[in-house]
């Protein structure tokens, strides 16, 4: 009974979750992992005409520690796969991945000996964008979808079962 606020959907926790989600969705700092053609369109999406910075995705840093969204734009070859895995592992939670373009989604036209057929089998992907390459509008749309996804998240709920378990032990 004492722990109702934690067990149920208490007002305080819900508001706290909303606040956290608001903050996270308003500043998804991207990690522009642009390897090929899609990288150029990603560049356009970041630049003046489309301006991804409007959604707070402005501070483009190439260090995985400081980024939230891994925007994987372009072909991943088998030679590159270990690097991608490592970059993803180095990112701090919470982290999201957007796979831009046909190559990142499924290997695209390059069904060859050296191309990874989609990054989905290597790292978990949140949003797939089709197209070869997708237009900048597509990338922006994916970002908006990701923002929706972040807003529907339960950042505090994830740890709650553990917490409840600990509190039960206390009784």
């Amino acid at each position: 009974m004492k722990f109702q606020a934690i067990q149920g959907e208490g007002w305080l926790l819900t508001k706290a979750e909303q606040l956290i989600n608001w903050g996270r969705s308003r500043s998804p700092w991207p990690f522009p992992y642009g390897t090929a053609c899609c990288g150029i369109e990603l560049m356009c999406a970041l630049a003046s005409g489309y301006d991804m910075a409007r959604f707070g995705a402005e501070r483009v840093a190439f260090t995985p520690r400081q980024c939230d969204v891994l925007i994987e734009a372009g072909t991943i070859t088998k030679k590159m796969v270990p690097v991608l895995k490592r970059i993803y592992a180095q990112m701090a939670e919470p982290k999201w991945v957007i796979a831009v373009g046909a190559c990142a989604c499924s290997g695209g036209v390059f069904r060859t000996y050296s191309t990874q057929q989609g990054i989905g089998s290597v790292i978990p992907v949140d949003i797939y964008i089709p197209g070869c390459p997708p237009r900048p509008e597509g990338i922006l749309y994916a970002l908006l979808k990701l923002i929706d996804k972040i807003e529907a998240d339960h950042p505090l709920y994830k740890q709650r079962p553990k917490l409840i378990e600990a509190l039960e032990a206390y009784k």
């Binding site: 088998k78 030679k79 796969v81 270990p82 490592r86 069904r111 060859t112 000996y113 050296s114």
Partner: protein
């Protein structure tokens, strides 16, 4: 004097075959003399720029030709030809694309490399530009270049076993994966 005559003049008996198609001249030279021939062409012929260097695998071409021949043989039942001559034809070709900066003429110099002796002398001494292309030929066809300063795989990773541009290597590969062990020392 046309380019054809000039090249024949410079090379003399080093010229094995000469072939012209759509204005592109391709000459074949013996495998052992490639460095000398290219040096001669550079010094005397004025071909001072190495545009590119690459390999060709003729496996399918020979297979097709053999099939065709067999078919025609069966049809005409001509027994005069000796069988199996194609199989001893060297499998690989390496083509050097030369360019003369003064006259803007291009020349393809071809050497044939048999499968049982996959070795060629390097031309990095003549042109530094041959460095990576030779590595790529090694990577893609398995032809070794004697005397190359750093003959490692160029495009595929070091642990890769096959030579992908050979005709008997499947397009989608044999399922190779790259794994890295980071030693955290």
């Amino acid at each position: 004097m046309s380019l054809k005559d000039r090249v024949a003049d410079i090379l003399g008996k080093d010229l094995v075959a000469l072939n012209e198609f759509r204005g592109d001249l391709c000459i074949e030279v013996p495998k052992g003399r490639i460095v000398q021939v290219l040096a001669k062409l550079k010094e005397e012929g004025g071909f001072d720029f190495l545009s590119d260097l690459f390999g060709v695998d003729n496996l399918d071409l020979y297979a097709k030709a053999a099939k065709k021949k067999k078919k025609s043989q069966e049809e005409s039942e001509d027994t005069g030809e000796t069988k199996g001559k194609e199989s001893v034809q060297p499998r690989f070709e390496v083509i050097y694309l030369l360019l003369s900066l003064s006259t803007n003429e291009r020349l393809q110099v071809m050497v044939r490399v048999p499968e049982d002796d996959l070795e060629l002398p390097t031309v990095t001494g003549l042109w530094k530009a041959a460095n990576w292309p030779e590595r790529e030929v090694f990577d893609m066809f398995g032809i070794r270049f004697k005397g190359h300063p750093n003959l490692r795989r160029l495009l595929m990773w070091d642990e890769f076993q096959d030579h992908p541009l050979r005709k008997d290597y499947p397009l989608e590969g044999k399922g190779e994966e790259r794994h890295l062990n980071y030693d955290i020392a």
